[in-house]
Amino acid sequence: MKQSNLHGEFFMQGNIACAEAALSAGCRFFGGYPITPASEIAERMAFRLPQVGGSFVQFEDEIASMASILGASWAGVKSMTASSGPGISLMLENIGLGIMMETPCVVVNVQRGSPSTGLPTSWGQSDMMQARFGSHGDYGVIALAPKSPQEYFDLTIVAFNYAEKYRLPVFVTSDAIVGHMTEKVYIPPVDELEIINRKYTNKKPGDYQPYTIEPGQWVSDFAKAGDGYLYHSTGLTHDERGYPDMSEACHIQLVNRLIDKIKMNVDDIILLEERDLDDADVVVVTFGTTARTVVPGINLAKKKGIKVGFLRLITVWPFPEQKIRDLAKHVKGFVVPEINMGQIVLEVERCAGGVLTKSLPHPGGGIHDFKDVAKAIEEVAYAK
């Protein structure tokens, strides 16, 4: 059946744009639990999914929500959940199951001020390391950080595409600002969008193994429940057949592949916005809504004659290590404003190889004063 979507120009809230993007990408199952500032996504999905032949379940908690979208994905349907800090914390174990079973799905984290219940109605960017390392164990992740409702739409589509291509839960890490912001959003007709659908195996049931990786591929082709393949999948360390294998050799191979499938494809996954980097003395590294609020500070520093470059991480994970290493060769330093107490700055510092890296933290509930941004840039520019 030809898929369709709601398309045209809208004055639309970020969270609604995210939900519409999911529908445009072909998402047909949403499991969720209400939480500010993410609830609009669930509400929109509850309203819209029945219209497009999909289904919505409001679960008893976020643990169930996350487990349910994995199940839906294995049954052959693109699926999504959305929450904020406290709910994402509850989802982490099953996010790990999704990583281990290699289950395509999308997890939206509309970040609020944290820790704990924190600032329910206000924003933060303090779950970035949680997205990277939150579930136990070692694995690769993808996280995309939109700065506007339009980009929230665009990146949610990209998130679904990456989820299918690399077979894992992909994070859209927005925040309460972009979630509740209303701006112009253009939604193209579905056939003008680049949408990656699941790659199902063309092997016959007897010949198929759920985790056999063909040469030149990083993940295996899919088989969904009900197609007669009668395969097994587990959160235990497993071999090509999906069977538990507790050997060191199998574990080494599996964990490495879960990391390498992201690491070896950074060029495909990493999206950046770069401005004035070529002759920059100071580079501001930023992401999400902070990328908008720091602009007056950058302009002020420029007015004072400083050559300021701007690097926006649209893809935050995997981190653009090589980009920072390259910039570090010719800049005086980096300034990293973020609405957390210094998370992404750790990554910049790690890749900067000793080049001055200045953290500009903010605990959340407010935005950076642009004068502080300008001051930090100046400090780096004139550092001895």
């Binding site: 219209q51 497009v52 289904s55 199940g71 969904k224 429940a225 009900g226 007669g228 009668l230 069977y243």
Partner: protein, 290 residues
Amino acid sequence: MQNKIPTHPMEDYLRMDRMPHIWCPSCGLGSIVTAFMKGVKNAGIDLNKLALVSGIGCTGRVAGYVKLDSYHTTHGRAIPFATGMKMANQDLTVAVISGDGDLFAIGGNHLIHAARRNMDLNVICVNNFIYGMTGGQNAPTTPLGAYSSTAPYGNYEQPFNLVGLAAAAGSSYVARWTALHLQRIQDSIEEMAKKKGFCFLEIISPCATVFARKNKGGTGLDLLQDYKRRSSIDHNADPQKIPLDMDGEIVCGVFVNDEKPTFAENVEKGTSRKVKEHPLYVQDRKDQEV
């Protein structure tokens, strides 16, 4: 063809390449798996369209041994995983087999809510009164006074009555059997596979390795003898009034067998007209004709 090598009667239904399994001698799980596969086969459903989801534990390992689309998930979360599967594809029959700790301690909230919604799932709880996999800790089913590795002075917690809880939460079908009642288990599984709505079956199952050892219960065979002595069948029993203890009666039977709309049916009924009249639905359909 005289010297044809005899095969195991369950060979077509089990992943023989995974044998031997991890279960202890005299564990009830082997016969329960056989009864399950026979039951679903007798139900006449297409086994290609049957998905089995397990949580974590000895019972959680069932998913790994049956020749079905099968998922070994996280501790306590088999039911929501299964719910996602069912809602994504209503053509699937989705079953959950897991332990009493998995389904009623860590996963208890999911069970009562799935029952409340009358989600179309077949949930089988293998109750051995203890945490088997992790070495004999207390379970929410451990009888008052029983010993476990975390109840070294005897259990002082009141246990759950699983059938009472499942019935109170709204299940369409509630039954209890012991691992001795293999034919009855098979029949219940068959009924559940044919039936819509949330179906719950408790199977009392012997754990010689940890439960009997901690409670001087003897061998697995001794436990089965004990079930034989203690069990009775009463389909009319009120599931609220038949809790289990260390040596009282084990009342078995099919206590609830109701017809009521499932979650998916209620969704369909509740949304279909309203959805079809909505302009966005109309727009979507119009586009599809282009």
